[in-house]
């Protein structure tokens, strides 16, 4: 009987599958629980939640990450489509460059941007001469987030477009759809899951961005102090504030994860 087999396999599964799974759940879950317990238990947790520092950091994080995601979606989508569909010399190089920021430590990315756009760099000097100042501004925060976040979207979107059968695009054209219309009516909807997944990853990475931001944009409350940067600052003065910021980030992450999952199941269930 199948059940008997399952039971006989039980001991084996317990060793190779179930036990590691439970351990992993504890490993990830315990710190999160600890964070929530210590957070809610802290004397000034609720006051901290509405403190100037937390609200400013939250607002800045939401605005900058939204701008990042918007730029990535608008610029990255056609770029990913182009890379997925065209063969040209140097494509391998571009593919490699796209993925490089994924493995590059963000601190290094931040330093690199400082070298490129900083006050003492060629570009920086040129920008300063026309009155534009990049480092330690909100724009710099967005730059840092773009640098580390965009590759996640580009990679996912490129794979998504590559998975769309070119024959479908051809058919659309024989049915009178111009290349632009074909893109919006066939390619884009068919790659939408990959695009949505890529945007979520990109957004998550942007909100969590710390290393490149602190190097290139600094830690100026209200201007460049995003949530992760603010947590570090708060740790030195007020643990309650650090906990409040962290709990907000956890709640946001969980909400986005669930929201996207529901949206995909509702909107695109029949494609599966």
């Amino acid at each position: 009987m199948v059940v008997g087999d399952g039971q006989r396999l039980g001991a084996g599964w317990l060793a190779v599958g179930v036990a590691p799974t439970v351990l992993f759940l504890l490993f990830v879950g315990l710190p999160l629980v600890a964070l929530l317990v210590r957070g809610f238990g802290h004397d000034n947790f609720w006051d901290s939640l509405t403190s100037e520092t937390v609200l400013q950091a939250l607002r800045l994080s939401l605005i900058t990450s939204a701008i990042t995601v918007g730029i990535v979606a608008l610029v990255g989508t056609p770029m990913a489509y182009f890379l997925a569909r065209r063969q040209f010399p140097g494509r391998q190089l571009i593919d490699g460059l796209i993925e490089l920021p994924i493995v590059l430590p963000p601190v290094v990315a931040g330093l690199a941007m400082l070298m490129a756009f900083g006050r003492n760099s060629v570009i920086g000097e040129a920008l300063t001469s026309i009155g534009v100042e990049l480092p330690f501004t909100m724009t710099a925060v967005v730059f840092a987030q773009l640098f580390v976040g965009a590759p996640f979207f580009l990679r996912s979107a490129k794979l998504g477009f590559e998975a769309v059968d070119p024959a479908l695009e051809e058919i659309a054209q024989t049915l009178g759809a111009s290349p632009v219309r074909t893109f919006f009516r066939v390619s884009l909807p068919l790659a939408s899951r990959a695009l949505a997944g890529g945007l979520v990853l990109c957004w998550a990475r942007a909100v969590a961005e710390f290393g490149a931001t602190i190097m290139f944009a600094g830690n100026l409350p209200g201007r460049t102090q995003t949530m992760p940067v603010a947590i570090l600052g708060a740790l030195e003065s007020d643990l309650g504030e650090a906990l409040a910021l962290s709990v907000v980030l956890v709640v946001m992450a969980v909400a986005v994860l669930l929201g996207v999952r529901v949206a995909i199941q509702r909107g695109l269930g029949h494609v599966l």
Partner: protein, 357 residues
Amino acid sequence: MTEGWFQHRQGEFSLEMRWTVGQGEIVTLYGPSGAGKSTTLRAIAGLVRPAQGRIVVGAQEVFDSSRSVWVPPHRRRVGFLPQGYGLFPHLSVEQNVAFGIQRSSPEDRARRTRELLQALSLEELAHRYPHALSAGQQQRVALARALAPRPLLLLLDEPFSALDQELRRDLRRELRAVRDTTGVPIMLVTHDPADALALSDRVVAIDGGRVVAEGTPLEVLERPASPRLSRLTEVENILEGEVVAVDQEDGTMTCDLGGVRLIAPYAPMKVGERVRIGIRAGDIVVAVQRPKGLSAQNALRGSVRAVQARGFESEVLVDCGRLFRAEVTPRAVARLGLAPGKAVWLVIKSNSCFLIE
């Protein structure tokens, strides 16, 4: 009238094609795979741009290399059914069919979609998605979708390849109905001689990137213009005539095929109906004496016209009031003394006579 010619290179392979398709005509491009059939369809649809040539669809010149005319695929009125049908997986049957008529008013679009769903018996499937359809249903949706914008030419790439016998028959009937009701010329590609015979008004045989023969299905298929085509066709004898007797109990029917009477397997046909019978050369037994005590029902008397070596086989042309091609081994030729003028009997089992629709 739809016509054209082009030359195109694909790596080492060079392709040189020409064709004409009259109003309401069904033309089959027939040939082994890799002969350049699909590329021809893609060039007409505008999905491949040939190096040289000129293509006219209806009254529209869509390509002329000498004057740099190139109309992109979405401005050509060509319906194209690729292999695998290419239904949009994210759209319902109804939305698939309506894809090509987005520019019409909503009422016109709804009416035309309904009309086509009805014509191809797809009404009950209107809200299904492609993954929930059988191969035959998918093909009907693809056909409805291609017809919706009223194309001036319908192109089908190996439309029968994924279908079983019954669905093939259905599709042939549907394509004939499409031609009869809309008058749209149809050009299809196949490597199956049965399809070429059953459906087309004209067959263009292609081999190695060239047109090697053109004519009625019978002309082209019975006299394959290249060894590769003949291997592909494998029906060396195709006879046309009419049914003279039907014996359902016995499971046979007798057919008069231009001076020769053959007993073929029973089919639900009436006396006097036109019939086409195919017999493979390898299925014919050659005897030099009147055969006796045979289970085979057909023994035809005739005389040898010619003997030709064809690789490991010899082809014997026998005149029985009508020419037959039989295939025997070179040893049999020597043993039986087969030579022009020799009197022989051809023995053909009724089961070797197959009905060509």
